[in-house]
Every structure is written in structure tokens, then in C-alpha cells.
Symmetry: D2
Subunit: 287 residues, 4 copies
């Protein structure tokens, strides 16, 4: 949480070369913007890519929203930037997808209501009706979209049609359905998923049972953007929790829930505050 005053955030990726920071800083300065946070990163490799996040006060800034993009475009073109501008007063709109497990949803809604997550939640979608009461306690519309395996594409298209224009990004808060490419492609790097992680990895069914049998001493969770490569998208946040031989499979699962909800919330906070940039298959997270 930065100050509560309204701010503007500029996210930039471009080939690295001298002068980018100077050009961006000058631009903001010339229009009376007061920079609050500025982070940058360079891959420092042969074909170097540069990343920048600048957060500056909206109050006093001379360019209105409509003119900012146009005024900045020449700089963006000079440096061949991929770039985006966001205003803190335009809170991101997020749709949350759930199935039956409520730990992530409970945690997200509490953090959202407490002011930690600056986003609007126009709806919760589920392939089950189990969590409707929870949604209602927070006065969020809850929509039941069943998914039948044999017509998954059709069912997902229905959801896509419903969602269209309503949200900026999506959270899979333990949504236990595979998303088809048609769905993933509609929200490139705009769908955040959470899953358990183990050392070593256990691919396939019953991972907690197998982690138990292997006697692991750590249970982890990974939040990442969804791509069409299952659970292989850019990682946003990870954490672990210790365990030992006394932990039964249900204990491991309980600890897994704890670390999952914490890691998902962290990833969502980073995303809503425009702190995440993507490069190849990884993230730059300007905490």
C-alpha cells in the first residue's frame, strides 16, 4: 500500500540502451509529475532488455488521462517500448473462479474487504454451488457455470461471452477445471493460478499422498500466470512451509492450504498494483 493519494503507474519493457530513464523522468518532470516510486531492471545479457515501473502522483500532473498516452507515444516509439499506463482511481476489475475449496476465496475476500487488495470484484464464477453463501456475505454476485467434460469448449465459450468486457483479469482460486486455449488466449497473462509445489516435484495424481510417501520436509505453493502449457506459466510468487514425519496426508493438505492462500494473495496484490512485468517465460516483480 503506497499513500492513499491517486497515482499513475507506467510499465515499460524495451531493448536496453542509454537514455531511457532520463527520457521517461524528463517527460514526467516536464508535466509536473512527482515520482513516488521508480524501479528498473535490465537483463544485462547480450540482447539486453530493460524494464521500468514508474509510479507518480496524479495530483498536479498536467496531462489529463486522454492526453497522456498521446504525449508519451513519441518516447515509446523512439525506444521501441511495450508499455501500459494505469490510474489508481480506476481499480482493476477481477473475476474470481472457484470450485469447492474455499480457503483461497475466504482469504482473498477478507483481504479485499480490509483494503489490502485494491480491486473490484464484479462476480465470482463457479462450476459448483458450494461457495455461494460466502460470496453473498461479501455481497458479490455468484454465478454457477457447470462444465461438462464432453462439451467443455462450448461451456467455456459461454463463460467467455458472459465475462466479456466485465473484467481486467481473472483469479483461479482453486478452480479445478482445465481452461481451453480459446479461454486462455482471451486473457493473455491476465489469469492468475495457484497450485501446490513439492521438492521434488510429483507429477500426476494424488501429489500429497506421494509427498507423504516420499517423506518431504517442505510443502510449497506457486502462483503463476496461466498459459497453454499447464502449470508452466511465468511464476509470480512462491513460498513453502515446513513439515515432518508426524504430518499425515491431511496435515500436509492443511499446510498446503495455508501456504496456497498466502502465496495467491501475494501474487494478486503484486498484479493489482501493476508491479509485475513479463519477460520470456518469467516475471519481473517490482515489490
Amino acid at each position: 500500500m503506497a499513500t492513499q493519494k491517486q497515482t499513475i503507474t507506467l510499465l515499460i519493457s524495451c531493448p536496453d540502451q542509454p537514455g531511457i530513464v532520463a527520457a521517461v523522468s524528463n517527460f514526467i518532470f516536464e508535466h509536473a509529475g512527482n515520482i513516488l516510486e521508480s524501479d528498473q531492471h535490465s537483463t544485462n545479457q547480450e540482447e539486453c532488455t530493460f524494464f521500468m515501473r514508474v509510479n507518480f502522483a496524479e495530483e498536479g500532473f498536467l496531462l489529463p488521462a486522454g492526453e497522456l498516452e498521446q504525449a508519451f507515444r513519441p518516447i515509446a516509439e523512439r525506444f521501441r517500448m511495450q508499455w501500459s499506463i494505469s490510474y489508481s482511481r480506476q481499480r482493476k476489475r477481477v473475476g474470481i473462479f472457484v470450485s469447492k475449496l474455499d480457503h483461497c476465496l475466504t482469504d482473498l475476500l477478507w483481504r479485499w474487504k480490509s483494503g489490502e487488495l485494491a480491486m473490484d470484484i464484479p462476480f465470482i464464477i463457479s462450476n459448483h454451488q458450494a461457495l455461494e453463501a460466502l460470496a453473498h456475505m461479501y455481497a458479490i454476485p455468484y454465478y454457477y457455470f457447470p462444465i461438462a467434460r464432453e462439451r467443455r469448449i462450448h461451456d467455456e465459450q459461454r463463460m467467455l461471452d458472459f465475462i466479456a468486457g466485465k473484467v481486467d483479469f481473472l483469479i483461479l482460486a482453486r478452480y479445478m477445471q482445465i481452461l481451453e486455449p480459446l479461454f486462455v488466449d482471451a486473457f493473455p497473462h491476465q489469469i492468475i493460478n495457484i497450485h501446490h509445489s513439492f521438492l521434488p516435484a510429483f507429477i500426476g495424481a494424488k501429489p500429497y499422498q506421494r509427498a507423504f510417501e516420499r517423506g518431504v520436509k517442505l510443502i510449497g505453493a506457486t502462483a503463476h500466470y496461466v498459459t497453454n502449457n499447464l502449470d508452466e506459466g511465468p511464476i509470480i510468487a512462491q513460498d513453502v512451509i515446513h513439515c515432518n514425519h508426524r504430518d499425515t496426508v491431511p496435515d500436509l493438505m492443511r499446510k498446503g492450504l495455508d501456504v496456497e492462500r498466502r502465496v495467491l494473495a501475494e501474487a494478486v496484490r503484486m498484479h493489482t498494483e501493476d508491479r509485475v512485468l513479463i519477460y520470456e517465460n518469467k516475471t519481473i516483480v517490482f515489490e
Copy 2:
């Protein structure tokens, strides 16, 4: 570190059934042993296995070393126990194997000298001469055993012959040679290894480079007993350290060194204090 007084530790694994704890406790009590620590664990599954560690004062205990084993045997046989007895005044003897990397060896030797690791180190063996000065600072004999790939079995047999009778267990403190089955089989569950661990796992060459490319947010380490299944033996200890996009490959490696030496030291401490029991391919660690 338990109390500095001399103690006796009994480690037991057997099929679970009522009366084991009572029998063992009675046995120790009847011979005037004062129990200092007692831990037990049951797998609580269908074919239940029971594990127990009892640590009691040697002072005042009525059975001398030679008679303890014989006196306990009837109980062990009644419950079909696998069991071992160790005396704290008989410090375990450990041989340390290293190659060129010194982080684990430096850490182990410092902890050993500071009294944290109650063991004797009759020798350090290496396939390089790089760490000889370090060994000498701690007055530990250092032996150079080169390994030639084309006659690895012969070279390892030479080491085995040299080691024979000198140690109770071995530590691979970043020893970068594969051990042949003839070597591993000579020290079943008596060789402790350390290796890096990632979420997800990166199998094969250049794991840090690949972890960097994947943008992981955690670097981990796993200490385990060596079996003939490479890096798949029972896990003794694991931990992780956080990282981010600013970490270059050398940074990740530096963090990896830190977590490796910490995890290895933890595993060695557990082993020297007879706190580890093995069950199938996993460990019970009575911390």
C-alpha cells in the same frame, strides 16, 4: 545439544502393537536408567510400523555396555525389533568427502570445532587437492584420491579399502563424483549427501541457469541418505531461500551455497545424535 552428561540412545523400529513403550520403559527403569528424552511415532496405517528413540543417562544405569545388548535382546525379539544402541561417549567417526567447493566443508568444520557436531573426523578425502589447507587448519588428515572415469570402480575400491574400519558414516560435502553401487552398498544409509532443489525441479545440466531462466522465486537444498537411486534416497532435511528477478545466476548460486551448508549441517547433527530412523524410502527425524 542435550546435556553434557554421557547418555545412551536406543533406536527401535518394529511392527506396532500395544506394550512396546511399556516394555522398553520398564526395562530401562528396572536397571535404574533415567530417561532424558523419549520420542515415538507410529505410521498409523494398516500394517503399522512403530518407531522409538529413547535417550537415557549412562550414569547410574546398572548394565555395563557389554551386557546391555544381551539383556535387551529378549524384548527385541518379542517385538521383532530392528534396533541399535549407541553411547554418547563413543563419538561417531565420520569421513568427509569433498571436491573443490569449500562452503560445506568450512561450515561443517567450524560447527564441529565449536562443539555443535559431536563426532570425530579421522580424515577428509578429495579427488582434488584444493581444500588441503582448510583441513590442515583444523588438523585433520587430508587424502587425495583421484578418480579416473575409465577406472572408477577400481579407484572407488581403493578408497573403500582405505576407509575400512575407520568410520561409522560418511558425508559428501559437495563431492562431485558418482558413487558406484559397490561403494554405496558398503555404507547403507550411512552416507549423507546434499544437493540443490528447485520448484519446479530441473533435471540435468546447469540447473541454476535453468532456474534463472524459469524465474523461480525460491532456491532450495535437500540433504538425504545416498542410495543407488541417484538423489532419490530418504530425505533428512530441506530448506529454501527466497530470490527474485534481480538475482543473477551467480547470485542464485551464492544463495544456493548458503542454504546447502545450513541444510547439510542440520542433517549431520540429526544423524550424529541418532535422531534419524528410516522407513521405506523416508525418514523419521526425532528433532
Copy 3:
């Protein structure tokens, strides 16, 4: 979470001497009890105190509830034990006290509903009406007991009268009223409180503001039993979260909420599972 089968837990403190474990184990064995978990601890000091927790299956145990206490009494008297027996099927009853902050209550109720905390919650009491809706979502009666400073003793006596006989222990889930000795004395070591902790400590008002000014790099939380010595009772659980110069006072408070709820839940879980023993002003926690 141990196995779901019903169990009996015996908690013991007494002067240390040989034979305690043998006597207790024999007693359980003679009545066909199958020990599932057994932990013990000795202070190993001059006037040594011994602590033990034994958890055994109720199924198959030959002594019914009424007779167990009587049958065990001779052993207890022989060793001058302080002791208690609890049955897992008699879930502990807990009253939760809150004020306006909802982070601890939200977390406790979610964990309770998910089955992690094996307890019944006959009521929530508050000196505010703010969290009534949350209580109702979980169908728990919510009682508003305002506290007026000038008649605090009278008001607390009213609460005590209401509570009498309804609960086994109490949780102060960020209840912002000081409890008078008449209240604390009615629940000796049966009231769990949570508060923030800093390194160094900041005593007095606005601790987060002062932690911010001091530039601390850690924010912590401590869960403890309430005694008449404010925030000085036996510590059950502690943890911390990292912070840095970017964290504003609200950020520190947000992180504080996170660590508070996690630490409180851990302490409550230990207490409900009869894993906590008290010795002088500290706890033995048999995790």
C-alpha cells in the same frame, strides 16, 4: 490433525524421577490402550520437573471414562503428579472475544469450519456490534457486552456470569479491553491472547508508528496465556514477517495482521489438542 479415530490424552507434570514413563505406559498397556503419540520433557535442572503427554486410542481401551480417573489416581499420587485427562470426542468449548478488528476472527472461523480446529464455539462476545454478520455467517451466537470504563468490574462480572459453565477456554481474538483480575482468575491459563511483537520492543502507544520510525526489519506476533501481568503470560507461539523501508505504517499494520492471525491459530490448535503444558511462566508445547 491426528487420525480421526477417538483418542484419550493424558497430560502430566511432576517432579522427575525414574520410572514415570514405565508406570504410565504399563498402566495404559494393562488396560489394552494403544499409544499413538507420546512426548515427554524434563527440565534437566537441579529440581527437575518432568512433563508428559500421552495420546492413545479410545477404541479397545478397557476403562470407561468414569473409571479411568479413579484407576489412574494411585499412580498420580505416587509420583505427585498434576494431571488431566481429555477425550477427543468431548470437543473443547471455546468462547471468542472480539472488538472491531476482524482478521483473527475470520481466520479462526474459517479454520474451525474447515476442520482444522477441533472445538465447539457456543458464542462470540464483543464490546462492539461490528462483527455480528461474520458470526452469523457461521451460525454462531453473537452477544454484545459493552464495557464502560468506570464500571469495568461490574461489566466483566456480568460477562463472567453469562459465560459460567458454557466454555472450557477463551480466545481474545483482538479484544481491546483489559481484563480485570476477577476475570483472569476465573480462567487460569485458559485465556489465549495475541499481540504484536517488535525487535526491539516498543512499549506504550502507537507501536507501529514507533516501529516505523525505528526502521525495524521484522514485525512479529506473540500468542500467550493471559495472566494478571499484562502481556507477560506464558508464550505459546511466536512468528515474524520481514519488512523494509518501503513499508508505510499501514503496510506494517497489514503485515502485523497477517502474522497475528497465523500465530493465534497455531496457539489455539496446540491448546485444543492438549499439547500445551505450563511450567513456571513458560510453556512446553508438544507439537
Copy 4:
């Protein structure tokens, strides 16, 4: 560790106002400097202070060392900056002070030799002769400066005279002597100390004994700059390690050693890389 190429680091503190970043970035750009890392922070309070760290490549930069300061001075004066410039090829020179405990020194020397700490160590000073062999293994001169309580000022003046001109900063790696104001004032915010930290704090003698008696569940360490206010200087780094009732006083001390050396190394690394700025009594650490 950033790239191995030589770099220049500029550290700035000044009253916040628009245009600082633009001016600094322009300056570096105009002289063909390629910015590798840039961090900034604003206190965002009424009388706002701004902090900046810019790290740029020395290769290709048009201003030689002698002219850089002069060329930058007009900008510094316009914004009323406190500022410093450092060159990575001029490694900081550090004097290490120790007494008898070797854990911090062992760790620092290993990290230094492994390349993690980019500094030169012209000498180690001690009021004991205990650690001379360790210094010699790393070929670092070791000087014995005994301190007599009744003439401490005189003895410290002797050390100051010896040190004069030899180092840029000092590390107290568990140096158990109080430094007099004459000494501290000679190295303002250039002496790094490490001490244990507890929750709650235990002031005075035998802190581990008292932490043990209080039953704390965490042992911590704090690295800070030395001021004339004992252990109250700006905090650079902090961390903790978990403990429980099984930990004896020696166990707590062992865990304390572990966390102390880790936290001290972190603080030293931040300092040597010019990542620490000081504001009032706290630090900005640009990790």
C-alpha cells in the same frame, strides 16, 4: 552480485521535489553512462526526503574519476543533496574487530574469500589473541590491542591512531568492548555491529538465560550502525530462528550464533555494495 564489470554508484539524499530523477538520469545519460540499477525512495511525509541510488557502468562513461565530482556538483547544489560517489574498482577497506567468539569472523572470511563480499581487509584487531590462527589462514594481519578498563580511552585512542587512514569502515564481529564516543565519532555510521535480539527484549546480563526462563519461541539478531546510544543505532538487517522447550541455554546460544553470522553478513554485503542510506535513526536499504 551485479555484473562483474566495473561500475560507479551514486548515493543521494535530499529534500524531495520534482525533477531530481530527471536531472540525475540526464546527467548520466549526457556523459554516456549506462544505468544498471536505479532505486529511489521518498518518505512521503510532510517534509519529504528523497533517497536515490544509481549504479551505472564505468566503461564508456565519459567523465574520468577526477572530473565526475566537479561536473555533478551543480546538480547536487541545486537540489541541496547529501551525496557520495563510489567506484567498484576501489574496493572498500574494512577493519574487523573481534574478541574470542569466532562464528562471525569465520563466516565473514569465508564469504569474503568466496567473492561474496567485495572488500579488502587490511587487518583484524582483537583484545584477545584467540583468533590469530584463523586470520593467518586467510593471510590477514592480526593485531592484538588489549583494553584495560581503567584506561579505555587511552587504549582506544591507540587503536584509532593505528587505524587512521587504513580503512573505510569497521565491523564489530562480536567485539565485546564498549566503544567510547571518541572512537564512534571518528567513524560516523561506518561501524557495523551485531547483537542478539529477543521477543520480548531482555536488557542486561545473561539474556539467553532469561530468554530460556521466559520460554521464547524465537531467537533473533540485529545488525546496526554503531552510535553513541548503545545498540540503538540504525538497523540494517534482522532475522530470527525458531526454538522450543527442548532447547537448552546452550542450544539457544548455538541458534543465536547461526542467526547472528547470517544477519551480520547480510548487513556487510549491503554496506559494501553502497546499498544503505541513513535517515534520522533508520536505514533505507536498496536490496
